[in-house]
Symmetry: C2
Subunit: 423 residues, 2 copies
């Protein structure tokens, strides 16, 4: 008997019929003797419906009230799933984030989990119940409802799995695993049966939408084995087959993996770039620029500072496109004048494309193949950022699909051979 | 400066535009220097949508999970109202039942309020904020979400007003006050400007849908002045006019009221009648019958036991039509055999029609005029129940409208004269 956490996305919970299918799948695991904790998302469309109402009422709705509003979606779907399980004869009970409680900080709309108290869940599991915990939400120290941001239910599931030392966390979604890149952009993209935690971390942070980045962080920090798999299969398929499907995110670097230099191509269109031109190159200038940005709770991704010329330098960074106008306001009205920038240049028509692979560690020339491929397609590179297992570039976003297809081909990802080392 | 509680029904909260109108009205009161606590219902249709999903999933959904589900409606509308107020420049904050907290017992789907902690609300009011408290819901001792049942937001509003010793509780709804009877049934029905608490109590308990009975109970217990008024008027109408509109439920019996013998006709179709035939007439038999019914949390309304004949008696009572099948199950499988009833007879095609008026205390012949009127219409009376200020009858429900119209006329309620004593 193992403790297994299941997470179901909004599409999987999208209708009464689908909720009943989720219940059938969960009931199968329960009947096989496993203790099961389920973390559902809101029914698909519900979160957008709620946020749409908020936007109609106010162009910039109060974040605390937004969380109060958005958290209802998961509460409703969790209660419905509990009812569906009970109607199939399985004892079940649902809990909101505050009931568990899932404690978070007070960063409304993008809160971070601080701790999870598992006593209540444990009690129900020991009493033979399936426990359902609302994804996406928690409670702060003042008793306010918080949400973890888009895709936060993944994080909730992995955090619960970590807190309870679950055997595995199964993320059921509408794709059947993690691909070498998005199959909608590159039809030749192929599913990986295993991916290393580090690769997944880069893939997620670089815009692969399969898993939320923070859920991968949690998985890494607490060594929770996570499997991404499809909820569209027969809910009563044999357990063994289910456990062998999807993509397993693993912490053991299999030697066979070395065969693949680059495992996948990630990309993201949610990018915007800003540059402060001719900033005096004095000590502390980077902090003077990025301090206020961080204080405004805006995540900065790539940062680039050029060689100083005549005592001034150009300073660029990228932010999420949603934060673009706020960032620009900050720069024009506060930071620019404060640091004495000659001019602020901004562009929200950029994207980021990255190659990822733990094989890059022991292979040279990987980045240069990337640059040559883009050059051959006539694509100008605006910024470059590298880490041990990935190389990212910022380019004009109209070239995104072209770049991804060219790189997928150049690194042999559309050939079976490149993945032959994977089990 | 007074503390005023506003309650808005589902229709008043039914769209973004209406929520903005509610915000305008609340902002007007706030700008006039009043402290305002607002208790909104869910957006109209939302509770039905949620309960519809539950019914699709399970014919008898688990009550705890039903409350978990249904409570989301008010949480969402409260957050939206807070946003609307803030977008109009009014500081506001919304709280769920558990955040206040509103403590209740654990009778899921029809919980009763035990206490309300006003510290958090008071703090926000003192800081100049409008406070929004979700109607309809609370939290039990185990930390489960509970709901107060249909119309429970009225009760929430009056309970908050009582706990905070509010100057007045304004119940904004889609009618402009309390009528002598339902104008949809009797077009000649007229609005009362004042009604006594006792009359309102009888009106509400007898099926008048304007206010939930428990809200009137609360108002009576804590002497909270309650005004029922329309949310469909101009939200920016002068405060004085607003305070003079609607129907005030008062605790001071104005002498002028004596002019009206009968104030209103109440009726309810939500009735069902059961009879145990030939029950041995032994001590304790009433308790043997009604004890298990009460234990199943089924409210019994009228109770009638006939004169014993040959040592047996017939025992009848009425319940809410929603509880009819559960009651019948109990009687057939448990109570009937236990008390040795010869037969169980049941009828859910009955209704209750009542005349209500504090003037009945000092006038004789009121009930007999009622019986004569029904007899002249050829309507058979199946059960009769009386109190100091009301007389109710159970009749076949196909005669309900006919009976109400005839009684409204017979007691002169469609003539201005009958209400001339009212201010």
């Amino acid at each position: 008997m193992s403790l297994i956490v299941h997470k179901y996305g909004g599409t999987s919970m999208g209708s009464v019929e689908r909720i009943q299918n989720v219940a059938r799948r969960v009931a199968k695991w329960h009947a096989a003797g496993h203790q099961v904790v389920v973390v559902p998302s809101a029914m698909s469309g519900e979160t957008n419906r709620l946020l749409g109402l908020a936007k109609e009422i106010s162009p910039q709705p109060d974040p605390r009230e937004l969380d109060m509003l958005a958290a209802t979606g998961e509460q409703a779907s969790s209660a419905l799933l509990a009812m569906a399980l009970m109607s199939q004869g399985v004892a079940a009970r649902s809990y909101t984030g505050w009931q568990v409680p899932v404690r978070t900080d007070s960063s409304f709309t993008k809160a971070r989990i601080k701790s999870i108290d598992d006593a209540r869940i444990r009690g129900d599991l020991d009493a033979g119940r399936v426990v359902i915990v609302t994804g996406f939400q928690g409670i702060d120290e003042e008793g306010n409802i918080t949400t973890l941001g888009r895709g936060g239910s993944d994080t909730s599931a992995v955090a619960v799995a970590a807190a309870m030392k679950a055997h595995e966390c199964l993320i059921f979604t509408d794709v059947d695993g993690v691909y070498t890149t998005d199959p909608r952009v590159v039809p030749e993209a192929r599913r990986m049966t295993v991916v290393s935690f580090e690769e997944m971390m880069e893939m997620a942070s670089l815009g692969s939408k399969v898993l939320q980045i923070r859920s991968v962080e949690f998985a890494g920090k607490y060594h929770v084995p996570v499997r991404v798999l499809s909820s569209l299969t027969d809910p009563l398929m044999p357990l063994e087959d289910e456990m062998a499907s999807g993509t397993l995110i693993t912490f053991e670097e299999d030697q066979k993996m070395e065969a693949a230099v680059v495992s996948g191509i990630a990309f993201s269109r949610d990018e915007a770039k800003v540059t402060l031109l001719a900033v005096p190159d004095t000590p502390g200038v980077a902090y003077s620029i990025l301090g206020p940005v961080a204080a405004a709770n805006i995540d900065v991704d790539m940062i680039l500072q050029n060689q100083s010329v005549h005592g001034t330098t150009d300073f660029s960074f990228t932010v999420n496109r949603n934060d673009f106008s706020r960032t620009l306001d900050l720069l024009n009205n506060q930071i620019g004048p404060a640091v004495g920038a000659a001019q602020i240049v901004a562009d929200d028509k950029v994207c980021k494309v990255s190659i990822v692979g733990i094989g890059m560690r022991s292979h040279v020339g990987v980045a240069s193949l990337m640059f040559r491929t883009l050059s051959e397609e006539g694509i100008n590179i605006q910024m470059i950022s590298t880490s041990e297992i990935k190389t990212s570039v910022i380019i004009n976003d109209k070239y995104m699909e072209l770049a991804v297809r060219a790189l997928h081909k150049a690194f042999g990802l559309d050939q079976d051979g490149s993945q032959q080392g994977r089990p």
